[in-house]
């Protein structure tokens, strides 16, 4: 679409539509976060259920572990919504092949930004969820045996949950400058090109 006469390996990236990068990034952000949260919840849930059979007092306190895992899923949803706001629909009348380099660059930048935001948030939350889940499982078992250890292990879980917050911070910074070209702007530029061409006719 730009002036690439000889195709190189870079064309592999150039020919992918920037909107695809954007939407796939949104999907990755959401699905990997949910994957991590679900993994964490089942790991800690099995242990909580088993430990509360002989020791019912731990039931309510240990739901905090499940809440930490759930928070990870919420981070994923927040980022997915933020990315979706950036992806506005292109105008139907505009032909991509006729775009100038500047528009294409802006679109590609926005696409890559959204995609990598999705990657960073998704994988951060995946590992955060698993971490909090395994720690929560140990917490339930230890709490059933010795009540004083609950608060100490909760501190470990808080540190584990902090890494999910790192993901969301960096993700927001990454996708803030992303700006897909708006339809009005494209139309204006297209009209300018038309005017220039018309004026150059003898």
């Amino acid at each position: 679409m730009t002036d690439l006469v000889l195709p190189t390996w870079g064309s592999l990236f150039h020919y992918v539509n920037p909107y695809e990068w954007g939407y796939v990034g949104c999907g990755i952000a959401l699905s990997f976060s949910i994957f991590g949260a679900a993994w964490g919840i089942f790991i800690t849930g099995a242990s909580i259920v088993g430990s509360s059979v002989k020791c019912p007092r731990i039931k309510s306190k240990n739901l905090i572990s499940v809440i930490f895992c759930e928070a990870v899923a919420i981070y994923g949803v927040i980022l997915a919504i933020i990315i979706l706001q950036k992806l506005n629909q292109p105008s139907k009348a505009v032909n991509w092949a006729a775009q100038t380099d500047g528009i294409m660059n802006q679109a590609m930048f926005a696409g890559y930004a959204c995609f990598t935001t999705g990657l960073s948030v998704g994988f951060c939350n995946l590992f955060c969820g698993i971490c909090v889940g395994i720690t929560g499982s140990g917490c339930a078992i230890a709490d059933a045996h010795t009540p004083e250890t609950f608060v100490k292990i909760l501190i470990v879980e808080i540190f584990g949950s902090a890494i999910g917050i790192f993901g969301i911070i960096i993700g927001i910074i990454q996708c803030t400058p992303a700006d897909f070209p708006k339809p009005e702007m494209l139309k204006q530029i297209y009209q300018n090109i038309l005017v220039i061409n018309l004026n150059s006719f003898p």
Partner: protein, 396 residues
Amino acid sequence: YKKEGKMNDMLTFNINEGYSESILRSLRMSFLKEEDYSALRNCQNMSDFKMVLEDTDYNQLVLPEQSPIEVARLKTLLKEKLSQELNYLAAQSSEPLTEFLELMRHGYMIDNIVNIIEGIKNKVDLDVLLKRADPLGYFPEMKNIRMVEGDDYADLYQTVLIDLPIGKYFHNFIEDILQNDPSKDTNSISAIMRDYKPEKIKNILKKFWLTDFHKFCTTVLDGPSREIMDELLQFESDLMTIQIIYNSIGNKELISGRGREGERKQYIHLAGQLYPGRDVELTMADDLPKLKEAVRPYERYRRMLENVPDPSKEEDFGGTMKSIDDIMFEEKAKEYGIVAFEQQFHVASFYGYMKLKEQEIRNIVWLAELVALNVPKNQPGWKKYIVPFKDLYQID
């Protein structure tokens, strides 16, 4: 489904075994502590004993019983409780764990079967034998063992024993016999099963069981389950080997050259650190110094044998000497209490729990017998119990 390499990871362990493992971990709270044992020691009669037991986890168990509780009844109740707990865990678990929990109890099944066969030989009624059987090793086919006419044990083997879950150990046992003496035929099997003493048959069958269990743990399981069970079973095999050799020292028949090569070799456990490495020295060992020399490279076993009296000289217990049984129980309690419960997401804790609970039952029954016989309180026997997890409770 792919059978090998299961339970290999902390990420996937809780899918199938999470519930069972966390129930087991909370069951660990139910062990009696040092102060409970002190209270049991200070009881004057069996009614006091029952009242002390009501304060512990055995509350629901002893409450419905009549007040002066009998020792035999207490023992049966305690073992039944443990057996019910293990059955519940097995019912809640799925495949490799179910087979693991069943293999764990084959040792008790072997005891039960051999006792029943012995009892039938001596014309004891089957119902009495079934009542005396160990509840931990219960299996439904136990009732099928009938009187055989003319002592034809080959027939008993082919019809009944081979169908049992432990039938393959009998199979290995008989194959072993036939291999050692190829001229014998199947009629000799009956002669052997009639002539061998029950202890002998039990020891040989347990050898096959431990080898098979060890093979299961090292091929089907994976990850921390494999490593920890490997260590525990090697330890158990080595201790049984050492105990058998020690007990054979006073016995002239087993200690002679022919006895050592032929008969005693049948008892040496194959799964363990001592087997291929120190086999030659152990076979040569015919008195205590040689046995100590044979286990010298293994620091732990050497330390265990230091204070043991020499059975061939019939020494008296004095000073720091302890009998080999006491030492074995202590070392086992330490090992199971610490190693089996160390990591999370593995199944060795089930095995450790069963062994430690068994030790606790032994403690309680021992103290109950001392109380029931009104032994004066200054005898040394009152201190002869081993508290599971003793070292860990001193933290708080």
